[in-house]
């Protein structure tokens, strides 16, 4: 008797581009392209609106950079002189248009305080903030997933998790940061309280200087994520038919949780993280101030304090762009995680 020939499996890469069988079909790539284009199309007017708003607010309010730089006992004459030097005597609209023109050629202007190009200032500090925020998001999501999985299996972990996350969303992050700094760094001297060590200098030093700030920044996000995940996993385990099917197949409890339930929660988790990116940036500003990290948040605070309009404009624009790209990434991830969206509907 001849051995039955194994059916050649149509591997995903062999599927013709126009096949309906799933995978990166033309329908899906069209959706992605549409999303990206739409986002960039709306990003431009939004960024423009943001910069106009910033400029308007900063110039409408009393005082300006010249007065701040000179201090409280400056005379009007000195101020006028400095204003002329900094170009602050020109009308607001012209200054804005000047800035806009510079922007189109990639120049974000020069700081009113130090005279250095804004692009350099931002570039130096962006890495620090990016590392801080990136690690915080990573830590928060990983811990949230771990906590939610444990909570789904053990009632004790569920109780503890509920309390911890309730505390986490109620505790302001600067309070947590202060307590951490004063407790662990100043009092117990385990970790450094302020300052930042770049990763090129010393990886271990870099990590040590970031442990406290990242934890303080991640804790509220961790609480929000774990609350969501715990609820979503519980609802799935209780209500969804595919969980019952998996159990009836004989799949073990951990596999049911991770391979079936968690997989369906990931899309929602990504959305939650996306929604909380704004508060995360705000939190980063405060954390950088407390821990004296040389990031763009700290630069922003300093610039606002002395009315360095150009620097503020530059930073605001960068932040707005980052927010738009981050939201786009979140949407793309969501598309990748939830196969019901975007792929050909029957």
């Amino acid at each position: 008797m001849t051995k039955p020939e194994l059916t050649p499996i149509v591997e995903r890469r062999d599927v013709p581009w126009r096949s309906w069988a799933g995978g990166l079909s033309s329908a899906l790539s069209a959706v992605i392209l549409g999303l990206v284009l739409r986002r960039f199309a709306t990003a431009v007017p939004v960024a423009l609106g943001v910069s106009v708003l910033t400029f308007w607010i900063l110039n409408l309010l009393p005082g300006n950079a010249a007065w701040s730089l000179l201090g409280t006992d400056a005379t009007a004459a000195d101020a006028a002189q400095l204003e002329a030097k900094l170009g602050l005597d020109l009308p607001a609209t012209e200054r804005y248009l000047q800035w806009l023109r510079g922007l189109l050629s990639g120049d974000l202007g020069k700081s009113l305080a130090s005279g250095r190009p804004v692009t350099n200032l931002i570039a130096e500090r962006l890495a620090v903030t990016a590392e801080l925020a990136g690690l915080a998001v990573l830590l928060a999501t990983v811990c949230a997933v771990g906590m939610a999985l444990l909570a789904a299996r053990t009632p004790l972990a569920d109780r503890v998790g509920a309390i911890v996350s309730m505390v986490g969303i109620s505790l302001p992050n600067y309070v947590l940061a202060i307590v951490l700094v004063l407790g662990l760094a100043v009092h117990a001297r385990i970790l450094p309280s302020i300052g930042f060590v770049p990763i090129q200098e010393s990886p271990w030093g870099n990590i040590k200087s970031l442990i406290l700030p990242v934890s303080a920044l991640a804790f509220p996000l961790f609480s929000i994520c774990s609350r969501f995940l715990r609820g979503d996993l519980a609802e799935q385990m209780e209500r969804e038919g595919y969980i019952l099917t998996a159990k009836a197949k004989g799949v073990g409890p951990w596999s049911v949780l991770v391979r079936h339930a968690l997989r369906n929660s990931l899309a929602g988790l990504v959305t939650i993280v996306g929604l909380n990116l704004g508060p995360l940036i705000g939190g980063a500003v405060v954390i950088e101030q407390i821990f004296a990290l040389p990031g763009i948040g700290r630069l922003l605070l300093q610039a606002i304090n002395i009315r360095d309009v150009v620097v503020v404009q530059g930073i605001v624009l960068v932040i707005a762009l980052i927010t738009v790209s981050a939201t786009l990434c979140v949407d793309l991830l969501y598309l990748a995680l939830d196969p019901r969206i975007g792929r050909g509907r029957r």
């Binding site: 709306t42 007017p45 939004v46 960024a47 609106g49 943001v50 708003l53 910033t54 607010i57 900063l58 409408l60 309010l61 009393p62 005082g63 309730m166 505390v167 969303i169 109620s170 505790l171 302001p172 600067y174 309070v175 202060i178 307590v179 004063l182 100043v186 009092h187 704004g278 940036i281 705000g282 500003v285 405060v286 101030q289 922003l300 605070l301 606002i304 304090n305 503020v312 930073i315 605001v316 932040i319 707005a320 927010t323 738009v324």
Partner: protein, 291 residues
């Protein structure tokens, strides 16, 4: 069931008390946070009048840095000799006032804008959404910082700057809720039965989006108090010597090792208020069956 236990206690006390007690027992998740919030508010607003607390800004250097339970200063004093309890209570008053005002403005203005946008739809909706998008894309903290700093700090200024943050947030929630309600058949039914726009809005729309907005407002109080605390902490919000929980924390940092209560007391109060708001919001959410 709750009635059965309570009845034995309340047999002599009459039906009114009995039903209140059983109600309280079964809604512990609402009663406890509400009671906490109300007692904190009561303490902050009424305590100075009821007891003779010294002024929060009238401290003498001689009395600076006293520990807890010192005679005459129940919770000690701060760096400048101001009574901590007094500062705590007055600071709380300021923080709560700001939070309440900001959320009220957000609810009224933002709620109206959002509901209108969702209800009128089409062109108006698209326009308002673009404007809201700008505010939402804008890192609100920056906006708030800029306005707060520009206006020179202070209570009124903080309220306005924080409103820039809460109005778009409420508008977004109101719009989403309105859109969801508009899908419902009863709106079509009302329109078909000849009801005017005003009637539809007030009798049908508002009662249905109100619960969500109220819960959002409740949670918003917690959020705004935290943000205001952050602002004051950074030096942008309420200015010294006027106390606010935020700037009390900032001030207390230097003396943490010798007198941790200066940081821990306002932190604890902040935490309690926000926790109660969150717990209450959660409880209401499950009770009113909102996602």
């Amino acid at each position: 069931m709750a009635a059965a236990d309570a009845s034995s206690v309340a047999v002599a006390a009459g039906p009114r008390f009995h039903s209140v007690l059983s109600l309280a027992r079964s809604s512990l998740d609402i009663v406890i946070p509400s009671a906490t919030l109300m007692s904190i508010v009561f303490a902050c607003f009424c305590l100075p009048a009821l007891t003779s607390l010294p002024s929060p800004v009238a401290g003498r250097v001689l009395e600076s840095n006293l520990p807890l339970f010192s005679p005459g200063h129940f919770l000690g004093t701060d760096l400048n000799g101001n009574d901590s309890l007094s500062r705590l209570v007055h600071g709380g008053r300021v923080s709560i006032q700001i939070a309440f005002a900001v959320n009220l403005i957000g609810l009224v203005l933002g709620g109206t804008v959002g509901a209108l946008s969702g209800y009128l739809g089409r062109f108006v909706d698209a326009l308002i959404m673009r404007v809201l998008d700008v505010f939402i894309a804008f890192p609100s903290l920056v906006l708030v910082l800029a306005v707060a700093q520009g206006g020179g700090g202070g209570i009124a200024n903080t309220i306005w700057s924080l409103s820039l943050f809460s109005v778009p947030a409420f508008a977004r929630v109101a719009r989403a809720a309105t859109l969801r309600i508009r899908e419902q058949p009863f709106v079509d039914a009302a329109v078909l039965s000849g009801a005017g726009a005003g009637r539809i809005v007030f009798r049908h729309l508002v009662p249905n989006i109100a619960p969500q907005l109220i819960i959002f407002g409740l949670l918003g109080i917690g959020i705004v108090i935290v943000i205001e605390g952050g602002l004051s902490f950074l030096g942008f919000g309420v200015q010294a010597p006027q106390p606010s929980w935020g700037n009390m924390i900032a001030q207390g940092q230097q003396l943490f090792l010798s007198n941790p209560s200066l940081v821990l007391l306002p932190s604890g109060m902040l935490f309690l208020v926000v926790l109660s708001c969150n717990l209450l919001g959660d409880a209401l959410r499950t009770r009113w069956n909102i996602a």
